[in-house]
């Protein structure tokens, strides 16, 4: 059981604790030709009562589809979620660590970090990954949450150096981000309801999957649909697959009738 003297104590930061105990894997330099699964398109947008976060389910290694059911959007605590693009292995590790940091802080201190504090903490994890990013293992997260202090949804995207950018309206990341981002840009309004936001996000992922081979579309055959979730004052709500299936059906019908 880890007990420290007051001057050695790592405080409530789980990452510091893990470092102190030497449990962090050493940074090895990766070969750029190493082919590992990459995760792709994720979007987030604000709506009138909160924020929506969504991502497709495909992971690719070069021209291979390596996973069809990957969960790139993860709830990190009651009021926040992360979506990732980039090298899947380090990315999943980063989200796992991030969620643990939030929970550990909450248990140690008896209260949650502020949303801004959470976004800042994620920025440090991205920056720590910089050596790996230099040799091709880039991980770029997107962070969305409901700020209980300001009573509004907020979202951030990051660059490989840990740069943290708060977005006012929407953001799209990953290989299909140009298409997905354009769809949202055209359809975004200040007064979007949660339902409008869900439909807009589905539409954006549909268009991205049409144009980008690394983005997976709705897969009715296997029953695999993108992950779409909203976060508002009552917390995280993941949209049911049955509801997504209806939305994608209506998009398909509309495309057919063009």
């Amino acid at each position: 059981m880890p007990i420290f003297s007051p001057s050695e104590d790592p405080g409530s930061n789980f990452n510091e604790l893990v470092k102190k105990l030497g449990l962090v894997p050493s940074h090895t330099s990766w070969s750029e030709s190493l082919s590992v699964p990459h995760a792709t398109t994720c979007v987030a947008l604000r709506f009138n009562e909160g924020v929506l976060i969504a991502g497709d389910r495909r992971a690719t290694s070069g021209n291979w589809i390596s996973h069809r059911g990957m969960e790139k959007v993860l709830q990190t605590d009651d009021f926040s979620a992360v979506a990732i693009s980039g090298a899947a292995g380090p990315a999943m590790e980063m989200i796992k660590m991030f969620a643990l940091i939030l929970e550990h802080y909450e248990k140690m201190e008896g209260r949650s970090l502020s949303l801004e504090g959470k976004a800042n903490q994620l920025s440090m994890l991205v920056r720590n990954n910089l050596p790996a990013a230099m040799s091709g293992m880039v991980v770029l997260p997107l962070f969305a949450g409901f700020d209980e202090h300001d009573s509004q949804g907020r979202l951030w995207d990051y660059d490989a150096t840990g740069g943290r950018y708060e977005e006012r309206e929407y953001v799209a990341i990953g290989s299909g981000s140009m298409h997905a981002g354009t769809v949202i840009k055209v359809g975004w309004r200040n007064s979007l309801t949660a339902q409008d936001a869900v439909e807009l996000a589905c539409r954006s992922l549909w268009e991205a999957s049409e144009a980008d081979s690394a983005t997976g579309g709705p897969d009715g055959l296997r029953g695999v649909y993108p992950i779409v979730a909203t976060i508002d004052k009552s917390g995280w709500h993941r949209i049911e697959d049955s509801e997504l299936s209806e939305i994608f059906d209506s998009i398909a019908n509309e495309v057919k009738s063009r």
Partner: protein, 225 residues
């Protein structure tokens, strides 16, 4: 160079135990008991910020009485140990028995080797998937671990509280009844229960990941009405 006086080990242990017992008895008592859908922990605590009961892991709660800084240090160590185990292995591999054993080692070590023993008594409560797999590990100031059934009392005037509680305790009682019994046992017949001084938390038997939650003063006074 002066030689320290020889003190026979029996006497040293006896004096340390007496010291620790006195320190713990100065504080107020805490009870934990099973109810029909989990475990409820009730403490008399005049402070609304310095907690005696807290969450360690998904299905595990910690309760401590005695010296606040000492049991809070143990609480933090427990949260760290549990989170590290969960990170390195799996969330399922964190269990109450393992934690209780580690606590027993630390507290026992300190009792035997330190000149001042820890003036604490702690409880590791773990909610199982069925009532039969609930665990209440009671660890005393000398590192003794007691695997308690149905209910457990820590600190304060624990013998008197035990006498009052054991007549009413019922693992199939509702949450409301369980809190009433606990509050009545803590207060005794001569003293009214003040909801402002009750710290109440529950471990609810469910398939949710985190089973621990606190009840605020409003919720407690509604239940005690």
């Amino acid at each position: 160079m002066s030689m320290p006086f020889y003190v026979p080990p029996e006497q040293m242990m006896r004096e340390k135990a007496e010291f620790a017992r006195k320190g713990i008895a100065r504080g107020r008592a805490l009870v934990a008991l099973q109810y029909n859908n989990g475990i409820v922990l009730v403490a008399e605590n005049p402070s609304n910020n310095l907690r005696k009961i807290s969450e360690i892991y998904d299905r595990i709660a910690f309760a401590g009485v005695g010296k606040y800084n000492e049991f809070d240090l143990l609480r933090q160590a427990g949260v760290r140990a549990a989170d590290l185990t969960g990170l390195q292995y799996s969330r399922r591999d964190v269990d109450g028995r393992g934690l209780a054993n580690q606590y027993a080692q630390i507290i026992g070590q300190s009792f035997t080797h330190e000149s001042k023993p820890l003036e604490v008594e702690i409880l590791i409560a773990e909610i199982g998937h069925e009532k039969e797999t609930d665990r209440l590990f009671h660890i005393t100031f000398d590192g003794t671990v007691i695997d308690e059934n149905v209910f457990c009392i820590l600190g304060g005037d624990s013998d008197a509280v035990q006498q009052r509680l054991q007549t009413s305790v019922d693992p199939n009682a509702s949450l409301q009844q369980a809190i009433r019994d606990a509050a009545a046992a803590l207060a005794g017949p001569d003293r009214p229960t003040s909801t402002d001084e009750l710290e109440v938390a529950i471990l609810v038997r469910s398939d949710q990941r985190r089973c621990f939650s606190r009840l605020n003063h409003q919720q407690v006074s509604d239940l005690l009405k």
